[in-house]
């Protein structure tokens, strides 16, 4: 059993989501007496530090500075054709979204996505995946070879455990003319709010209904000494600025208080706030997945709740 992990790097460091994939690979390999191979693009093999201690082989493609989905995809396809893994693990990230399906199609492998749990069963992978915004769980059984796309946060990050003693295999970068390039990168706007440092956050979701209702939530946030935040649909609707978005494509926060109103708790939102210390969720749908994670919950109408909260907080009783 050979498992190849699509390692993502940034500034020559392994991304935390990739350390999670390495733990997943380690668990799978341990069960099947298999080997773990780590694929990297564009960085020197010297990245192989103690976090790769249990990696048997580092498959490294160097000699290219391009780090686009196209370049990564072509390089990992070359690696898969040469190394012939039974299982490829990729992360549910912007890069993984592009690389994994294209790899599966080109390499003739099956693909299963949104994986939260993976187990080996003879010559198949059994996966548990969250679909429909986390409302349902699909169990799948997929014959090898397979590409599994794993949801961030599903596995702990691999930690340093000795030194890397594995083999390093270097593969030449594919030579096709690139059809995409990175023009510029923009860091998040540091001048405004920084949700990652907020101790208290009040987050509104789709259930807030319309833009005019944001003001009532902002008033309660102010009375609580909390930063106002929104889930992706709220920000996409233009009701709150991007800097106030929590979740996969927004900020990852860990406040002492996370009060979320009208947020259903899709896995992409959970990814950004599950480290919060105290989570209170209000949503009219009693089956909303947010209630699995929240410490306290209520199913009342948040538009009726907000004036009551405002009144009580103002009265200070």
């Amino acid at each position: 059993m050979k498992i190849l992990v699509c390692v993502e790097t940034r500034a020559a460091r392994i991304e935390p989501v990739s350390l999670e994939l390495l733990s997943a690979a380690h668990a799978l390999a341990g069960a099947g007496q298999g080997s773990v191979e780590a694929f990297t693009l564009g960085i020197e093999p010297s990245v192989a530090g103690p976090q790769l201690a249990f990696v048997d082989t580092l498959v490294s493609v160097t000699g290219t500075s391009a780090y686009t989905p196209e370049a990564y995809g072509a390089a990992v396809l070359a690696a898969v054709r040469q190394r012939k893994p039974n299982i490829v693990l990729a992360s549910y990230t912007p890069l993984g979204l592009d690389v994994a399906p294209a790899l599966a199609l080109r390499a003739g492998m099956a693909l299963v996505g949104y994986c939260a749990e993976l187990t080996l069963a003879e010559s198949a992978v059994e996966a548990s995946s969250q679909i429909y915004g986390g409302k349902l769980r699909a169990r799948t059984r997929t014959p090898l070879p397979v590409v599994c796309v794993v949801t961030p946060g599903a596995y702990p990050e691999a930690t340093a455990a000795g030194a890397f003693h594995g083999e390093i295999v270097e593969i030449a970068p594919p030579t096709a003319e690139p059809r995409m390039r990175i023009e510029s990168e923009t860091a998040p706007d540091a001048s405004g709010v920084d949700l990652t440092k907020a101790e208290r956050i009040l987050c509104v979701g789709r259930g807030i209904g319309e833009k005019d209702n944001i003001a009532a939530a902002a008033e309660v946030a102010s009375l609580l000494g909390a930063e106002l935040a929104g889930s992706r649909p709220v920000v996409d609707s233009g009701w709150l600025p991007k800097a106030r978005q929590v979740g996969k494509s927004g900020q990852k926060v860990k406040p002492k208080l996370y009060l979320c109103l009208g947020v259903s708790g899709a896995p992409e939102h959970i990814e950004g706030m599950k480290a919060s210390e105290l989570i209170i969720a209000v949503n009219t749908d009693a089956k909303a997945p947010i209630f699995d994670l929240a410490h306290y919950g209520a199913t009342c109408d948040l538009l009726e709740l907000l004036p009551s909260l405002e009144e009580i907080l103002k009265a200070g009783v």
Partner: protein, 255 residues
């Protein structure tokens, strides 16, 4: 220049989802189907690009219940043409199965840009944009917004974790998985929608074989609550008081 925008109806994940007798798919008998939220963004971005560049937008969808109305709405929102593609893929279409058929339609229409939503809540076996890109052998980029044309190339901004934005230049033809349009999807009046209801739709035959997908759903289940929230019951006033009490217990009430 032709922009093909691919639209899909998906079960409304905000409503109740019941599991069918097979135990491996949801019961679609009474379900509400809605435009995939990211396809909604893709349609808006396609129309914005058209308005900025004089391109032509063709809305494409696999035929099925509610699809005529979906496509007519796309016309009301600024698409120039709308086509439905006949197929025998069944109700729950995997992106992998659909990709070769949609790729053939895109080629047949002579499109140079394909936009669709970055994902759906049910694309368990992979997302459409990269499958289309690989099927067509075109470059593809997911999780994008801010699409434009610069010196004959596409520009697209990818949203990454932590609010980091990466702007790409991509040669045409290309496929984009759109996450967020440059402005919220436009409002269309009831009058305009009623006018669009009479507009003609083209029907295209399925060209090409469906993609194969060896992954199989063994079972579908409602997640079992593990622990979960302590529920605060009562009127909104009682719940508000309950929340403030919890904040006090945790020394989180202000002041």
């Amino acid at each position: 220049m032709i922009i093909a925008v691919i639209l899909r109806l998906v079960p409304d994940a905000n409503g109740d989802l019941e599991i069918g007798d097979s135990g491996t798919e949801i019961d679609r008998e009474w379900i509400d189907l809605v435009l995939n939220e990211f396809d909604d963004q893709a349609l808006e971005e396609a129309v914005l690009l058209k308005e900025a560049s004089a391109a032509k937008v063709i809305a494409l969808a696999l035929a099925g219940e509610g699809v005529d109305r979906l496509l007519q709405t796309a016309l009301a929102r600024g698409a120039d043409e709308a086509c439905k593609i006949e197929h025998d893929l069944g109700d729950a279409v995997s992106s992998r199965a659909a990709a070769p058929i949609l790729a053939a339609a895109v080629r047949g229409l002579g499109a140079e840009i394909v936009m669709t939503g970055v994902q759906t809540s049910e694309d368990l076996f992979g997302q459409l944009a990269p499958y289309l890109g690989a099927s067509l052998d075109w470059p593809h980029l997911s999780a994008v917004g801010g699409v434009g044309l610069v010196e004959g190339m596409l520009k697209a901004r990818q949203e990454q974790s932590g609010g980091r934005l990466v702007e790409y230049r991509i040669s045409l033809p290309a496929v984009l998985g759109v996450q967020t349009a440059s402005q919220p999807p436009r409002y269309v009046s009831g009058t305009k929608l009623r006018q669009a209801a009479g507009l003609p739709l083209k029907t295209l035959p399925a060209d090409g074989d469906a993609g194969t997908n060896t992954a199989q759903i063994v079972s579908l289940e409602h997640p079992v609550r593990q622990g979960g929230a302590k529920m605060l019951d009562g009127s909104p006033t009682q719940v508000a008081q309950g929340i403030v009490d919890v904040l006090r217990q945790h020394a989180l009430a202000k002041g």
